[in-house]
């Protein structure tokens, strides 16, 4: 099995879908001969031609709107945001046009909006955002955030095949840092299914994206202290895998929620509410959130380091909760 980075896995997934289905095409800024700011679409123009790999003007709202129009015509557009931070410029088209068409008049809008998100690379407030919750709160959309190379390929393929608008968050910190064996043959990772990354007994640690790796590191460390963490990777944020979350909670009876996104209105709140409503009896302790503080993502390395959740913060919270 070829050893692929997270980034290469996404490229391969898109590539395979474009070979498989002529209705799949790409649009975005600098994705053609340049191959995209992060090289995700490298080689695709040469392989699939100008009709299927379309460089656009700097017009995020038109990029999204055009993807919607093409999707209504039966195509499966994959639109790139050069950074997911800039999705705010196409926001209205996503939440009002794309998300509501099927509910309103029954037409399918199969499209994917993908791009790099997340912090850890000193990108500053406008190249580091985790803005997935804007879309998790919009019925009609699906939101995906892979943490492994295998999932990145399997989920981008499933997203392209889905009949609904999917917002696909690639974590830029993982692009070249994660490398694993990824099957060459065709496979998908179904949307809406979480994965238990590590079995544990004491605390269910529920997270997604790059934080999965931080969680696993913390779990290793805490294991030596006799605290057993079960690490759940949500993978799809909307619809999220209620069953998997609840079964881990019932198993461990204590819960921690972890994300890189800011706290107030973050996904941890939603999951906590689910648990406090549907698994209240199973809880042996407070539901603990470990998240970024409620500030913009600061630029300077010491500030960003302080801002991001890390193994230490997780461990401290876990020790307290375990002792509860």
């Amino acid at each position: 099995m070829p050893h692929l980075t997270y980034l290469e896995a996404i490229r391969q997934g898109i590539w395979e879908e474009m070979e498989r289905d002529r209705s799949v095409f790409l649009l975005g800024e600098d994705i053609g001969s340049y191959g995209g700011a992060f090289n995700v679409t490298a080689g695709m123009l040469e392989k699939f031609g100008e009709d299927r790999v379309i460089d656009t003007p700097i017009s995020e709202s038109a990029i999204v709107g055009a993807a919607i129009g093409a999707a209504l015509m039966g195509m499966r557009p994959v639109a790139e945001m050069q950074f997911m931070d800039f999705i705010s410029c196409g926001f209205d088209q996503i939440v009002n046009m794309a998300a509501k068409i099927h509910y309103r008049w029954g037409a399918a809008v199969p499209m994917v909006i993908r791009g790099p998100s997340g912090a850890g690379v000193h990108g500053g407030p406008f190249h580091s955002q985790s803005n997935e919750m804007w879309f998790v709160h919009v019925p009609g959309l699906k939101v995906v955030a892979p943490s492994t190379a295998y999932d990145a390929k399997g989920l981008i393929k499933a997203s392209i095949r889905d009949h609904n608008p999917v917002i696909f968050y690639e974590h830029k910190y993982l692009y070249r840092r994660i490398k694993e064996d990824v099957p060459e043959q065709d496979f998908v990772v179904p949307l809406g299914k979480a994965a238990v990354r590590r079995e544990g007994a004491d605390i269910a640690l529920i997270t997604y994206g790059a934080m999965v790796w931080t969680a696993l590191e913390a779990a290793d460390m805490l294991a030596n202290e006799g605290i057993s963490l079960e690490v759940v990777d949500l993978r799809t944020l909307l619809p999220y895998d209620e069953r998997c979350v609840l079964s881990s909670v019932r198993k461990c009876s204590k819960v921690m929620l972890l994300h890189e996104d800011t706290r107030i209105g973050g996904l941890a709140g939603e999951i906590a509410a689910l648990i406090a409503e549907k698994a209240f009896d199973d809880l042996d302790g407070p539901i603990v959130r470990v998240t970024a503080p409620d500030t913009p993502v600061p630029f300077s390395p010491p500030l960003e380091e302080y801002y991001l959740p890390n193994v230490q913060k997780i461990a401290d919270a876990a020790r307290q909760l375990a002792a509860y």
Binding site: D51, I54, T56, P57, S59, S61, A62, I63, V64, G65, A66, A67, I68, G69, A70, A71, L72, M73, G74, M75, P77, D92, Q93, N96, M97, K100, I101, H102, Y103, R104, W105, G106, A107, A108, V109, P110, P139, G140, K142, H163, N164
Partner: protein, 345 residues
């Protein structure tokens, strides 16, 4: 593509034949009658709830353009463009059912007014957020261009909407990609209460075409024959692969912004002036002069139209409201699609 080739050479658009003239008069009158009932009868009777926008006085724009569309073309009408729906094959009853929030309207009661879409009939509806359909039209245009079928996308919006960023991004993108998209601006002098001098600082909007590298023309939007030939030229360009056009149709909103707006801010004289330019009377005169129809035939037509509207309204009123629990259906499109599996009565 054949279609496109054949038209490539032509420069002047042939005048509409007698049959087309009659059809245009029919749709003009049908639209006027239907919208008048909506605004002045059904709304006041409380049979239509929510906002009510009609296009009285502006009917020639939709009729003069949609009448020329071919199979495979796509239209994205504005909130005042009732006629495009009729010409694309929606029945009066379907449309009234939608206005009256019935379960067998095209939206099944989920959305209102003219937010009616059906890809099989080549109609993509607006959302309330003005201008949003312009980028969508670009995506439609991309696909039509690949298919090389000579088909086009027609998107309608008001002069107030032209101030939205989405319209700019879409017109620029369409020009860069040479998309077969026609941007039709119905300039009816007001955006809600806002007059054009507070909306833009130029005399005519047609100059916007040059800002993107597409033809920009203006036309008397109350003269359906002028609209027909102006849009016809743009269609010819688009069908033959020469790219997008921008057409400003000068017209006037003969109503308030919506049924609840008495439009005190509009000088009464303006209504008087524009009444004289009524697009229906103007076309009717032509047909009489050219003996395409005579007075008697027109009276018959008027009666026929009233009858059609009566029946459609009766049909809509006899239609059921949706069951509340349907609200939960079909947020997502999945294998067993509720829309397909729940046929309309």
């Amino acid at each position: 593509m054949a279609e496109a080739q054949s038209t490539k050479s032509q420069n002047k658009i042939p005048a509409p034949d007698a049959q087309t003239l009659e059809r245009m008069l029919y749709y003009l009158k049908l639209t006027r009658e239907a919208e008048t009932r909506i605004e002045q009868v059904l709304y006041r009777q409380g049979k239509i709830v929510g906002g009510v926008y009609v296009g009285r006085g502006q009917e020639a724009i939709g009729v003069g353009s949609a009448i020329q569309l071919l199979d495979g073309d796509v239209v994205l009408p504005s909130h005042r463009d009732f006629s495009s729906f009729l010409i694309r094959g929606f029945s009066l009853r379907e449309i009234f059912c939608n206005w009256m929030a019935r379960s067998n309207g095209p939206c099944r009661g989920r959305d209102n007014t003219l937010h009616i879409g059906d890809m099989s009939r080549g109609v993509i509806p607006i959302i309330s957020h003005l201008g949003d359909t312009c980028p969508v039209a670009c995506g439609v245009g991309m696909v039509l261009k690949w298919r090389q079928s000579g088909n086009v996308a027609l998107v309608h919006f008001g002069e107030g909407t032209s101030s939205r960023g989405d319209v700019h991004e879409a017109m620029n993108m369409a020009a860069v990609m040479k998309l077969p998209v026609i941007f039709i601006c119905n300039n009816n002098a007001y955006a809600y209460s806002t007059p054009t001098e507070k909306q833009y600082a130029i005399k005519d909007l047609d100059v916007r075409g040059a800002a993107y590298g597409m033809p920009g023309v203006k036309v008397d939007g109350n003269d359906v024959l002028a609209v027909y030939s102006t849009i016809g030229k743009a269609l010819e360009r688009a069908r033959s692969g020469q790219g997008p056009s921008f057409v400003e149709c000068k017209t006037f909103r003969m109503t308030g912004h919506s049924a609840h707006d008495s439009a005190e801010y509009v000088p009464k004289e303006l209504f008087e002036q524009w009444k004289k330019k009524d697009p229906i009377l103007r076309l009717q005169k032509v047909l009489l002069a050219q003996n395409v129809m005579n007075k008697k035939q027109i009276d018959i037509l008027d009666g026929e139209i009233r009858k059609q509207v009566d029946e459609a309204i009766a049909g809509a009123e006899a239609s059921p409201f949706p069951a509340g629990a349907e609200a939960l259906q079909a947020v997502y499109c999945d294998a067993d699609c509720w829309w397909k599996n729940t046929p309309l009565e």
